[in-house]
Amino acid sequence: MRYDVAVIGGGVIGCAVARELSRYRLRAVVIDKECEVGLGTSKANSGIIHAGHHGAEGTLKGELEWRGNQMWDALARDLHFGFKRVGDLTCAFDEDQRATLRKIMAQGKRRGVPGLELWGPERLRREEPHLSHDIVEALYAPTAGVVNPYEACFMLAESAVRNGVDLALDRTVTDIRRVDHGFDIDVLWRRDVLWRRDVLWRRSGPQGQEMVAERIKSRFVVNAAGLFADAIADMVDAGGFTIRARKGEEYLLDKRLIGYVKRIVFPCPTPTSKGILVIPTYDGTLMVGPTADWSDKDDLTTTAEGSAEAFAGARRLAPGISEKDCIAEFAGLRAVSDTEEFVLGPSRVAGFVLAAGMQSPALTAAPAVATLVVDALRDDGLELVAKDDFEPTVPAPVRFAELDYAEQRALVARDPAYARLVCRCEIVTEGEVRDAIDRGARTLDGLKFRTRVGMGRCQGGFCTWNCMELLRERLGVPLTAVTKRGGDSWVACERTEVGA
């Protein structure tokens, strides 16, 4: 089959583009090397929807930050992912930094960012009593928000799929060729064959999959391949830029500290970095980070130095924060272009559109980036005819923990699966996990990022088993075929005698 548009990369940019495309009468596909969308850079993101005042004037990053910011309310309403405008505070510790705050404030005002206020120590202490008393002034921006970035990806992708877009997951693009009226995209499909008896004993190692070569044909290509966008562009000679990985480590704190800090707290930015932040995530738990260090494109390690840096930075803002409260850590890789700017729009190859160099504030900008990409496709000759039956919304997932007593009673009377608890730390029911599987979750991480199951303080100690059982039951695979996040990330294997 031939597609009109193939989007390479199912991160938040690719998913947003796919969803934007699904408004029109055309055939589109999203290709991603992971087993679910959003598992790369987008998953390991700080989840901040930036307020709109930080990005420098005259840059794409700066302009799209504010434009994207304003699009999240409608998206979150239609797609039911977690999004909350919690506001942010940029903190000054001395007179120089106070001057910087004023510069950022003026910049935001010129751009039209509303509600910016300077808070003195007294106001700050009243609003955020746990912040350092060394902060002499803070710039408050009510438009900043937090989002669960992986949820946004899942929901954007689900909306796109409901409106006719295909997902081609577990597929690594190996080559792209220009052909008449379009592109041939060669992919290697890593097909999981773990449930086949004959390969069960070879469990440990990549023998658990078989590689299947496929060719996907498409008239247009959108390169939203994140860290690998440079390699993808080079395949058709549409590149001329390089992407480097800048790693950020983040540390999640116990929910005992929910409410300890209510807004996203930034140190005063330097020309190179936004610094270490304290972030109340959408669910309220605090996160500290991210660090920023050049790294390899496959380096997702957390380090002792990164941990020390993140906590030292966080303590400077909120001295009561301690390593002892850490329940989980992760690292993500920013896709940074040579110019540090977004590489966005048409390339020198007609029909090959770029959405690369997507580092912060790319999450914020994603909805705006998607519309720009679609504009670029139209400029390259893609005909856009709006569908009359485009459905902008997806059904709201059930969130048992957020319902009141009467609603919970009514829900479980309708379906008792919502009465059985699967995850006790985050109060997630069997019904919610089942729904997530039915809506596309295939892995333990897929369930975690859709339902919060396993995200709490016990980190899956109790619920992993229940989730494995439910995946087995709903997908009809043995427990040994259940993975953490696809590929070779198996959790359990057969007894030794099978292959001894």
């Binding site: 002792a304 850490c326 989980a328 899956g460 996040r485 990330s489 294997c493």
Partner: protein, 446 residues
């Protein structure tokens, strides 16, 4: 096994016990003994017995039942004892919330979401395992890093294996037990690595699970890096100095596909937090009185929710007491409040209960901070007892009888464990078996 279920969940019970592990079962039994009429035990699993059901190894019950049992056998006895006393059991259910007026919000497949009012509540939710995040092991985050308890469930409940070549971090009892269990299943266990200069689990487990199977125990050594993009491929271990800083010059890589964590248990105190109970910063469990009542009226707690026990036998005994306390509370026969405070002194991390009365017999549980041998346990200046040794992994129990405090009129007793280097050795007053002596060297009548 047939588990009786209440046909109708009553809107009100005299005592509601949260958790049907050994603690909850004993508490329910105790509550009935003390005169509570309607007692309900709620458990999240479909069967009662708690974590014991996956502990298929022997070594349970020597103190409480006077014979050696496996975990499921111990559980079965506890279940029978409880059900004989006409206790209602609601399995496959979960307590979402407890209000200070002891109204519980319960969800279950059989009864949906409902409120249940309790004359007294006993919290017996047990503990959870510390995970990787708690110790922040650097490196990648592949599949195959799991707690020892989860691996135990895979092996003993599902008949699966956690991996083929395993490294164990931490020498907690579950890790030691799993080292042996996995070797018996044909899994290669490369070794057990322990940050501290001493093992964390019971000495008998070090001997029976590691030494007897030739599994090396590397003390003062820790895992400093996890490698593997999708599944664990190797770990890097390094010895640590006296301040627990890894000596990276001596680090080495160990190929493996699994890293089991046995790095401690944490009281599972979600409900205690919700109730706003006073918590002990050392145990992280609720502060209790000598009847195991918490800082809220009519709310009791027992078992690993209060402090981490070494043997289930002590959990049962402590929980029986908590149940009796709850029963006495609802029948209006609660005794007089505690009048003596036990203050942890040298080498004593905590005492549970932290307060006692001069009127009743008490069993006081303690943990030490450092191994010490030989040593002396001192209770203020009124009692002294020589001990062969003390060990952080092994709980100390001390029985305090009223006659022993007859001449005591103070409000506070300091508990110290001090080295006994040059003193002449005195034999313990009562003969104990060698196993007992290892397990609770202080378990003597005062």
């Amino acid at each position: 096994m047939i588990t009786p279920k209440p046909a109708h969940l009553q809107p009100r019970y005299d005592v509601v016990v949260v958790g049907a592990g050994p603690a909850g079962l004993a508490a329910a039994t105790g509550a009935r003994e003390a005169g509570a009429e309607r007692v309900l035990v709620i458990d999240r699993e479909s069967e009662p017995g708690g974590i014991l059901q996956q502990c298929i190894h022997p070594g349970f019950g020597l103190h409480h039942f006077g014979e050696e049992l496996t975990g499921p056998e111990y559980a079965q006895r506890a279940i029978e004892q409880t059900l004989e006393r006409e206790v209602d059991l609601l399995a496959g259910a979960y307590v979402l919330d407890v209000a200070p007026d002891r109204r519980l919000k319960v969800t279950s497949r059989d009864h949906g979401v409902a409120y249940v009012d309790a004359g007294a509540v006993v919290l017996a939710m047990g503990a959870r395992e510390r995970t990787r995040g708690a110790v922040r092991i650097p490196g990648e985050r592949p599949a195959g890093v799991m707690t020892a308890g989860f691996a135990q469930k895979l092996v003993n409940m599902a008949g699966l294996l956690p991996g083929r070549r395993v490294v164990i971090l931490g020498s907690g009892d579950i890790g030691l037990i799993m080292a042996r269990r996995l070797v018996l299943e044909g899994v290669e266990v490369e070794g057990v690595y322990e940050l501290m200069p001493h093992a964390n689990g019971l000495n008998r487990n070090v001997v029976q699970c590691l030494h007897d199977f030739g599994i090396p125990l590397h003390l003062s050594t820790t895992v400093v890096h996890v490698h593997g993009r999708e599944r664990v491929e190797k770990v890097t271990v390094a010895p640590v100095d006296e301040r627990f800083v890894p000596r990276m010059g001596e680090a080495r890589d160990i190929p493996c596909d699994t890293l089991l964590l046995s790095i401690g248990l944490i009281p599972d105190n979600e409900l205690a937090h919700r109730l706003g109970l006073r918590l002990d910063p050392v145990t992280t469990g609720p502060v209790v009185t000598s009847t195991m009542e918490t800082s809220r009226d009519g709310v009791f707690a027992c078992g690993n929710v209060v402090h981490i026990h070494d043997l289930v036998d002590y959990v049962s005994q402590e929980s029986l007491l908590a149940g009796r306390g709850a029963g006495a509370y609802v029948t209006g026969r609660a005794g007089r409040p505690d009048n003596v405070r036990l203050t942890p002194g040298q080498n004593v991390r905590y005492c549970v209960p932290p307060t006692i009365t001069t009127e009743r017999e008490h069993t006081v549980y303690m943990r030490v901070a450092q191994p010490m041998a030989p040593c002396t346990l001192r209770l203020g200046d009124i009692y002294e007892k020589p001990l062969r040794y003390v060990f952080p992994g092994e709980m100390l129990t001390l029985k305090v009888r009223p006659r022993f405090l007859e001449g005591f009129h103070g409000g506070s007793l300091r508990v110290d464990i001090v080295p006994r280097d040059e003193e002449p050795r005195r034999a313990p007053r009562t003969q104990v078996t060698s196993a007992d002596a290892e397990v609770h060297p202080g378990g003597e009548e005062a």
